[in-house]
Amino acid sequence: MATVDYPLDRPPVKDTEFSFSQALYSWVATVDHKRLGLMYIVSALLFFVVAGIMAAVIRLQLMFPENDLVGPATYNRLFTMHGTTMVFLVGMPMVAGFSNYLVPLMIGARDMAFPRLNAFGFWIFLFGGLLLYYSYIGGGGLQGAGSAPDVGWFAYAPLSEGAFSRGSATDYWALGVMVAGIGSIASAINVIATALCMRCPGMSLSRMPVFVWVMLIDSWLIVVALPPLTAGQIMLMLDRHLHANFFDTQAGGSAVLWQHIFWIFGHPEVYILIFPAFAILSEVIPVFSRKPLFGRPAMVGAVVAIGFISLGVWAHHMFAVGMTSWSNSFFAASTMFVGIPTGIKIFNWTATMYGGKLRLDTPLLFCCGFLLQFLVAGLTGIMLGVAPFDWQLHDTYFVVAHFHFTLLLGLVFGLFAGIYYWYPKAFGRMYNEKLGKLHFWLFCIGANLTFIPLHFAGMLGMPRRIYTYPAGRGWEGWNMVSTVGVFFQAAGILFFLWTMVRSAFVGEPAGDDPWDGWTLEWATSSPPPEYNFEKLPVVRSSRPLWDLKHPHDPDWKFE
């Protein structure tokens, strides 16, 4: 290393003498958006593994009829913790992690708008997650009943009320999720302020990368949709501990109100979760097709449209609860309506690939998987949006298969694409392409093997949330195939974790711009220095690096 002149008040610290405690301190006390982003993503991956193991146990239990691997009480806790973990401790920190790491780099900023708020958001999220998992130890409460929450991830009243959920397990659910939600809101406000106020010179909103646009709208949804959940949880806690009557039907309250409040949050939430995948695809597909994104303004417009329409579709989760036919018609219609912008997006990604010079590396493979599988998820979603169809299949495995197609075969595929795509930027080293492809094929085969059969089991009437089932109803075969798929998925995840850890140490040096990308994060070194850019870039088009690489044929001449 070259000699560096340190200021007098800061003693020089040599890299070689960096002890473990110093390294730990530097991570715990950091306000650097890149480190916080990585910490979000790594803790989300840890929770992902935990929730995945829970899902594997669920599938093993359902492999045979009348199986007794786990009892009914344990089974209820497993699906509750699996759902809650995947939504609040995997999906949400992935939103925060990707936007933290990439938004400042893509808009040419040195950090987020509020770096300390950013650190607060991460640590309060982690605390919320640990609080939820502490329920395994402390959930019994004074009455000694139960351990982890067992009320399902949407904790419907009156089941979640004090009379039916003894002990403290449901309180841990409410408080853990509420606390983690505060972290998500903090991070969302930060992303909005960063995207609106920290852009480098020339980066007008119309030149902002689509990734940043999607994350901006995603943050808007978090800011308006998470507080309703908090409000509902406050009411639930008041009911449970101060004997208020919000969801107590005997005192004139309404258990349906909880469903409304939960889904006012819950439906925007599924868009909050899927948006990072939209954002990642909008960056990966153009670069790997060597074409600019098809219909960029339509793409941004579609995201903005989803950001508003998705606030008005919540009751399609409640067709079976007995609403008026006017409500059913309204929410069925608005559900069809929100499919339109999503269709525009799928069309535009496909059109971007059409006629492009495709480079079928791992990130693009995951994007292709996303496109096909998310299309299936969208189609079953439209089917379930038709109220009479939903009456028939509500609370069956068809619904389970539908939302696992959106979130596992959709969102998680998108997240893997993003992780592989930006891995060389974050660590300065290339992942192992062979292992990456192996991961993709194993995971793709496994996930489809697991969730395609569940559609059929659902149509044959298999209800959700049963810990076992009798033989002879035609469900055995589908469940057996479904569980076999889990082994493929698990093998894929093992290869993924292996290449992630190993390549960080022994991977090929990647260089600053391994994919020949067009957005600003590829203009700085890999991994980026703490200050991101030595000199703040000046931007004249939506593909600033293209302009830099092709001075004779720059984009800005045509924008």
Partner: protein, 194 residues
């Protein structure tokens, strides 16, 4: 390159603090919206008394106090902008006193409701929705007062508060928000709800 240089010099973006506080207010509004909607849905649904028309008295004085504190905090902010520190301290203290008056009369109202009318959060739906909505608002008043008093304290200790004009401004926006919410809560609880 000259073009790029002028672009760099003329590049103007919104202030990040402004955007941050505005979206904090948006997210708080979403929280209040659910409590207000719940209150409206549950009006007249209590099977047993006491009912709102029997026990609620319109809090005229405290409402006037809280709403006029929006005015005093504006005067204080204005005085600080023109660097008139004595006047700033005066208006700022007036804001705190008005806020305290509101809080105390809310406390007295709750005391009467609990001890004389025997209305608690568990009595009926009216109690549940009333104490949660009014209490949520009152807790926001308390948070606002804590920060208002913090600013006054450091000012009296000689801290040059005029260097923190932006933060004072954001605090006053938050206070305006708390007042605006009271207009809604007042309408829902004391006008529609009775």
């Amino acid at each position: 390159m000259a073009d790029a240089l002028t672009m760099e010099r003329d590049w103007q973006l919104p202030d990040r603090g402004t955007v941050g506080i505005l979206f904090l207010i948006v997210t708080e509004s979403a929280l209040f919206a659910i409590f207000v909607a719940t209150y409206l849905i549950y009006i007249g649904k209590s099977p047993v008394g006491p009912y709102p028309r029997d026990v609620l008295e319109i809090p005229v004085v405290s409402s006037i106090c809280l709403l006029s504190s929006s005015l005093t905090v504006y005067f204080a902010e204005h005085a600080l902008l023109h660097n008139k520190l004595a006047r700033f301290r005066l208006w700022w203290s007036a804001t705190i006193l008005l806020g305290l008056e509101f809080l105390i009369s809310t406390g007295m109202e709750w005391r009467k409701l609990i001890y004389e009318d025997h209305l608690t959060i568990s009595t009926n739906l009216f109690g549940s929705t009333f104490y949660s909505l009014v209490g949520l608002h009152a807790s926001h008043v308390i948070v606002g007062l804590v920060f208002l008093i913090l600013v006054l304290t450091v000012t009296l200790m000689g801290f040059p508060i005029q260097t923190q004009f932006r933060r004072v401004k954001f605090l006053s926006w938050y206070w305006h928000f708390v007042d605006a919410i009271w207009v809604i809560v007042f309408t829902v609880v004391y006008v529609i709800g009775r």
